[in-house]
């Protein structure tokens, strides 16, 4: 288990479940939820939060700007 360094917040109402963030995450933090949002999309969430490095790759490729990234300053 890695030391927690980063975290993401997904705007689950806006997320369309395209899973591009899942692909972009180098540490496999993100998965699509089983539940759906009001629009019927399986939204992204941090399935392995302990692995997040706050690298921002997920937010960078997100077409719907629904990921906010936080990272502890070294």
């Amino acid at each position: 288990m890695g030391k927690i360094r980063g975290a993401i917040v997904v705007d689950t109402a806006k997320c369309k479940g395209c899973s591009l963030c899942v692909e972009a995450c180098p540490t496999k933090v993100i998965e699509l939820s089983r539940e759906v949002n009001a629009k019927g999309f399986h939204f992204a969430y941090m399935a392995q939060p302990q692995e997040c490095t706050g690298c921002t790759n997920c937010a960078t490729v997100c077409p719907d700007s629904c990921i906010t990234v936080y990272r502890l300053k070294p």
Partner: protein, 254 residues
């Protein structure tokens, strides 16, 4: 032990939505490249501090509603006419920053003349060219940039040059014109490529500030709905099939 909530604090924010992007939920399909390009365009406008002097020209195509998402003044142009509209704006407001945002049907088919002549006059504008090889908004018809063999609803068995003509490399044509100063082809399927495309946009707007002529940023993009693939598979298909024909990189940088 550190909790997630100890990290999610304003002082630790490293990536958030730029205020130049509105809060409207985009109408694009899941995974659509338009959303990514809109986002980095808005970021560039914010970071360059040009929100109050930028005027965008939206196309006809899926990005027809771009004006709902980026918080600047806009013109919504007729299909293909965005470079002429931008010419009118820029000639009369030379101190403003003017860009067009166009798809392949808009820029490379119905608006070929407007595109080529705006570039040939060296209009001091930025042209953002989304090339996904298909007409998204009207439901997946063949585009001028549809590659050979690629199916679309009006060439269901794949583009056949003998019948449909050849895919058009518009950026290569525009790079030959003396009026263009910067012609680059980028993509937004990985974080690294998104960052590169954003840098290209910054360069394009800087060129405009320096009155260097027309800058064209082509973004080879996906249309997962039109291509009938998942967004992830569409990216893979683009890498395997589009990139060999539409090679990424600068075609001109003066």
């Amino acid at each position: 032990m550190l909790e997630i909530n100890d990290i999610i604090k304003p002082e630790n924010l490293v990536y958030g939505k730029t205020p130049v992007l509105t809060d409207s939920v985009m109408h694009y399909c899941p995974g659509c490249s338009h959303g990514v390009v809109h986002k980095i365009l808005a970021q560039v406008i914010e970071e360059m501090g040009i929100q109050e002097q930028t005027i965008g020209v939206a196309p006809v195509g899926c990005a027809v509603f771009a004006y709902n998402y980026i918080d600047i003044d806009w013109h919504e142009a007729a299909h293909g006419r965005a470079p002429a509209v931008a010419t009118g704006i820029k000639r009369l407001l030379p101190e403003k920053m003017v860009f067009t945002y166009q798809g392949d049907g808009d820029l490379a088919a119905i608006g070929t003349a407007e595109t080529i002549h705006a570039c040939n006059r060296g209009e001091n504008i930025v042209i953002i060219f989304i090339n996904n090889g298909i007409y998204g908004m009207t439901g997946g018809q063949m585009a001028p940039t549809t590659i050979e063999g690629m199916p679309a609803s009006t060439c269901p068995f794949g583009r056949t040059p003998e019948r449909d003509g050849y895919p058009l490399k518009m950026s290569e044509i525009l790079a030959t014109l003396p009026g263009t100063c910067y012609v680059t082809r980028q993509a937004v399927h990985t974080a690294a490529h998104v960052r590169k495309t954003k840098k290209a946009l910054v360069k394009a707007f800087e060129n405009q500030k320096m009155r260097k002529g027309t800058s064209i940023v082509e973004v080879v993009s996906t249309c997962s709905s039109g291509w009938k693939m998942t967004p992830v598979n569409a990216n893979k298909w683009m890498v395997d099939n589009m990139f060999p024909f539409y090679k990424l990189g600068d075609l001109k940088n003066e």
